[in-house]
Amino acid sequence: MSDAPLLAIRDLTVSYPAGAGAGAGAVRVVDGVSLDLAPGEFLGIVGESGSGKTQLLLSLLGLNAPGAELTGSARYRGAELIGAPERALARVRGARIGIIFQDPMTALNPYLTIGAQLTEAVRHHHRIGRREARRRALELLDAVHVPEPRERFAQHPHELSGGMRQRIVIAMTLLCEPDIVLADEPTTALDVTVQAQILALLRDLRERTRAALILVTHDLGVIAEIADRVAVMYAGRIVEQASAERLFAHASHPYTEGLRRSIVDVDGSLPVRLEGIPGNPPDPAALPPGCAFAPRCPYAFERCRIERPPLEEAAPGHTRACFHPGPLGERAP
């Protein structure tokens, strides 16, 4: 992966004005994130609910809710995305960077047919006719294992199951042949067997297309299996980043270790959630002064509660934000 990065995110911050209690400043939901994505790379982002994963992805396309303020930089092939005018963003959205949203039940327009929704983006971006768009869409529906694609075309979203809708959404995103696919927990809203199918599908597609993929999830087990590299997010920041194998074998941030310990491979088959990390993620409006994870961390000491650990290289290609000298013990006392 020595190519110039396809996407270079530097010190990206997303904040919303603090709700009630005017003058309370802004709440940072994504805080100083830096990431690189190489062409064709598969990057996983893991973190608990509320850690800012969705907001991070949305900010790349300028799709955050009204009121969001973005600072920092995200360059796609050298072109700045943060603060870019709507017109420029509209040329990137869908065509260059596609996104698959968290909940397939609400992501599709209930008023329009599947066919219309599938083909409109490719017709717009690639300036092709209805027939050609339809032909490509049918081909892709077949590739994502949608049975009887022709019938699906005339149907509306409510006539399809969640898994089927997510396949449609995936096909819809891939149809424009984007360079980057952002997949925001594409399986959380689905039931377990369908989850496995969709993940298998994403893995297969990776070999077919040459798109880079950022897969967001709160399940480290899922990502360790299929990603090249993994970034772990906590309270809006990246706390650890390494190759998938390395992260799984040598997690050196207590939060990552906690995530890893909460999935255990029982006789090598299904990952079973044994224990979560005690406590809850902090409210981004009221972060502790030091390390945001300190209140839940079994290794935390004085310094962790006062000073915020910077993201530093722990080993080549492995960064982490933690004062603990490591390696971490097998189990917290």
Binding site: L61, L63, A65, P66, E86, L89, A90, R91, V92, R93, G94, A95, G98, I99, F101, D103, T106, A107, L108, N109, P110, Y111, L112, T113, E120, A121, H124, H125, H156, H158, V169, M172, C176
Partner: protein, 308 residues
């Protein structure tokens, strides 16, 4: 679909019978009769008039006679306008109200949707505040204030338009009453559309459409318009029935020969057939308009199944 239509039209029949019966009963229960006036009429003439209109028969026979005629579409003679049937009065007046009402509602739908969507898109800017302020005024100001005001400005002062009266087919006579009638509807629709648009524009499927890189116009027209207009459709149905039967105030301010005024004078003069006839017409129009609204609704939203 055809089954649905047939069923709905069949259930309309008993509804209309009940409406007619209630209107008939209420009118006859109020004291006085169509030919009691201050002027003293010789008793024999009064009796001959009453016999001519069957008012000397027992009430149940009058009722059965009326319902029998109604079943054939005959609304009976007007007592007030001698030698004219209620059907003729309606046939003369309804086109006036229908023209003014349809134009007013179309105008209100167009402007109301436009202002509502723009206000939602430019939320909390003057594009939002100014139209919404006017919308509040439009809802609050009664037609008997707005109508004369329009006449004062555009007819009396500027001499651009006639102050009233009606010439079939002439647009000049149409403009002021249409504007006066459309104003409160525009205001109401604008507020309703703004609310719906705010909700729809924040929904995940609009985010999906934007994430595809579609131009804003396409996102709104193709993806947002139908869900935004859905609630308007169920409001427009009954509203349409209302404007078709005429607005008493608009008619009297602009001197329009519609049927709204018959309703008022008919009620005062105990013109039984006229009032019952217009009530039944109004009921029938409401039923038809609601049916059309339901069809429209189902056409807009594919999740809606037509079921009775």
């Amino acid at each position: 679909m055809w089954r649905f239509l047939a069923q709905r039209l069949l259930t309309a029949v008993p509804t209309l019978i009940i409406i007619a019966t209630l209107a008939f009963a209420l009118l006859h229960a109020t004291p006085g009769g169509p030919f009691d006036s201050a002027k003293r009429i010789p008793p024999e003439i009064e009796r001959s008039i009453e016999a001519q209109y069957h008012l000397d028969e027992p009430l149940w026979r009058q009722y059965l006679r009326y319902m029998g005629n109604l079943a054939r579409g005959d609304l009976g003679p007007s007592y007030q306008y001698r030698d004219t049937s209620v059907n003729e009065l309606i046939r003369a007046g309804l086109p006036v109200d229908a023209t003014v009402g349809t134009c007013a509602l179309l105008l209100a739908l167009l402007l109301g949707s436009l202002f509502g969507i723009v206000a939602a898109l430019r939320r909390d800017t003057s594009w939002d505040y100014v139209p919404m302020l006017f919308a509040s005024l439009g809802i609050a100001l009664p037609a008997f204030v707005v109508g004369p005001l329009l006449i004062l400005v555009f007819a009396v002062t500027l001499h651009w338009l006639p102050s009233g009266d009606w010439r079939a087919g002439s647009v000049r006579y149409l403009i002021l009453p249409v504007v006066a009638l459309a104003l409160p509807y525009t205001a109401y629709i604008a507020r309703m559309v703004r609310g719906a648009a705010l909700e729809v524009l924040a929904s995940p499927f609009i985010r999906t459409a934007r994430a595809k890189g579609l131009p804003l116009g396409t996102v709104i027209l193709r993806h947002a318009l139908r869900p935004i207009l859905s609630p308007v459709v169920s409001f427009i149905g009954p509203a349409f029935a209302g404007v078709l039967t005429g607005s008493i105030i608009i008619e009297s301010v602009f001197g329009l020969p519609g049927i709204g005024r018959y309703f008022l004078t008919g009620a005062i003069n105990r013109d039984y057939t006229l009032v019952v006839g217009i009530t039944v017409l109004y009921g029938a129009l409401i039923i038809v308009c609601n049916l059309l609204a339901d069809l429209c609704y189902a056409w807009l939203d594919p999740r809606v199944r037509l079921r009775s």
